[in-house]
């Protein structure tokens, strides 16, 4: 390992290409923690946004008029406003309205920190799209399939959980993939409320080392690989869900 670090140090000395997040243990620590923060943020938002999408698509078909209206209002609100504005809204508007708690050093701090707000905000943002994505899938399930389940005595919940949703997911997967890819990329916005995710840590590093060009190239590559892994996983899932003789 030391030899590799030494090589990159020499690279900097000889060419001016400065990659301190490899050879410098402090910057390396920042980069690694930023990477895992991005992964954590992405995974939490992916899971929550899919749950919001499934629940929202179910509530969209509620017999209660106001439930449907609230879901549609939610979709409009989150689809028609920029995610950065949403993030600021949650962090600065809602966040400051909530009661404060006393921390370990006796100071006052907000009950929810930047990370929690980023998870909430981004999950609702992507969730709004997911509701519509699942809805499009649900609409592709023929009414006659639902009728068959009704005739067998299935409850509304079982029809959704065991019949329409599993079929809708298969139809909606390509669109869902797109949205989840977007979500992972959108986690970089958490930078704006000082969540120490990857882009934020990269910014810390380039501020200290004045190596903006190198850091930007590296960021592009890391996100390219990170999203590539997600796409690969989603494609595998799509294949695993394939049913012989269905959908073709």
């Amino acid at each position: 390992m030391e030899a590799i670090y030494e090589w990159f140090r020499l690279l900097y000395d000889n060419t001016g290409i400065n990659l301190p997040f490899i050879y410098d243990s402090y910057d390396r620590g920042r980069m690694i923690s930023g990477f895992f923060m991005t992964v954590k943020l992405s995974v939490l938002c992916l899971v929550l946004s899919v749950i919001i999408g499934m629940a929202g698509a179910w509530l969209q078909n509620s017999p209660l008029k106001w439930t449907r209206r609230i879901v549609n209002g939610y979709i409009q609100l989150f689809r028609n406003t920029p995610p950065l504005v949403q993030l600021y809204f949650f962090y600065f508007a809602i966040g400051t309205m909530l009661p404060k708690v006393t921390n370990d050093w006796g100071g006052q701090e907000p009950i929810l920190g930047g990370f929690a707000w980023a998870v909430i905000s981004l999950s609702f943002f992507a969730g709004a799209y997911n509701v519509e994505i699942f809805r499009s899938g649900l609409e592709a399930v023929p009414d006659s399939t639902v009728e068959a389940a009704e005739a067998l005595g299935f409850s509304r919940f079982h029809i959704y959980k065991d019949i329409t949703l599993p079929l809708a997911i298969r139809v909606a997967l390509p669109a869902l993939n797109n949205n989840l890819v977007n979500l992972v990329k959108t986690t970089t916005l958490a930078y704006a409320i000082a969540v120490p995710e990857m882009l934020y840590e990269a910014n810390q590093i380039w501020s200290d080392n004045v190596n903006v060009t190198e850091m930007m190239v590296f960021m592009l590559l890391v996100y390219f690989v990170l999203v590539g892994v997600l796409v690969w996983g989603m494609n595998r899932w799509e294949r695993a869900l394939k049913i012989p003789g269905f959908g073709a």
Binding site: S144, E147, E150, L152, G153, F154, R170, P244, G245
Partner: protein, 248 residues
């Protein structure tokens, strides 16, 4: 008033059904006794399918009464689950659940609706697969089965709920001529076992052979009805005569 089996199992009285301004059933009455097989025939658009869909409350009615084992179907507080446990239905387009194997299709309703024990349900499902002569197809998905095979799975799926009455809505209409017989044989077996059956069909030869009673509907009313021999050989109403003349 509790129902006993010397009363009609299904009693349809002066049923009226409209889709918007279009009245499709204009006062239809018929009784079906336990173990009886009745066939409803008539030109398309005459309300045959609508009538049997009303019997298990897939369509609501605007007037009249439908009693299934004494349970009133035209009741805003209808216990649909109770009704649908008694009434099985098979559709023209099979409507199997495409993401479940033949065996799973049959097992789903007893597991989810009746909450029966899984081992017992699987045993029942395998017995039903055998009954509809589909041994070896247990693990096939609907998309891998022919129309006739799918329809037989659909029949087995209904039977798994152990219904007292079976409704068949033009179940051979979508099949190739050579697979029609395999489905008709299955229904004949059922009739022989004493299952109460209400069939909407265009298979006149089959109707004549299997039915205890034939009803001819046209433009929302029952024009003529009678035992098969009388009905087919000595139809009196000019509309019946014209219809039979076209089809036979």
């Amino acid at each position: 008033m509790t129902w006993t089996d010397d009363q009609p199992m299904v009693s349809v009285k002066d049923v009226r059904k409209s889709f918007g301004a279009l009245e499709v059933l204009k006062g239809v009455s018929l009784d079906v006794m336990k173990g009886e097989v009745i066939c409803i025939i008539g030109p398309s658009g005459s309300g045959k399918s609508t009538l049997i869909r009303c019997i298990n409350a897939l369509n609501d009615i605007q007037g009249g009464s439908i009693l299934v084992e004494g349970q009133e179907v035209n009741d805003p507080d209808l216990d649909k689950l109770e009704l649908r446990k008694k009434v099985g239905m098979v559709f023209q387009q099979y409507n199997l659940f495409p993401h479940k194997t033949a065996l799973e299709n049959i097992m789903m309703a007893p597991l989810l609706v009746l909450k029966d024990d899984k081992a017992a349900v699987e045993k029942l499902a395998r017995r039903l697969i055998k009954k509809v002569r589909l041994e070896g197809k247990e693990d096939s998905y609907p998309g891998e089965l022919s129309g006739g095979q799918q329809q037989r799975v659909a029949i087995a799926r209904s039977l798994a709920m152990n219904p007292d009455v079976m409704l068949f809505d033009e179940v051979t209409a979508a099949l190739d001529p050579e697979t029609v017989n395999e489905v008709l044989t299955t229904i004949k077996d059922l009739a022989k076992d004493g299952m109460t059956c209400i069939l909407v069909t265009h298979e006149m030869g089959f109707a004549r052979e299997v039915a205890d009673h034939i009803y001819f509907t046209d433009r929302g009313v029952i024009v003529e009805h009678g035992a098969p021999d009388v009905f087919f050989d000595a139809a009196k109403d000019p509309r019946t005569v014209e219809f039979l003349g076209q089809i036979l």
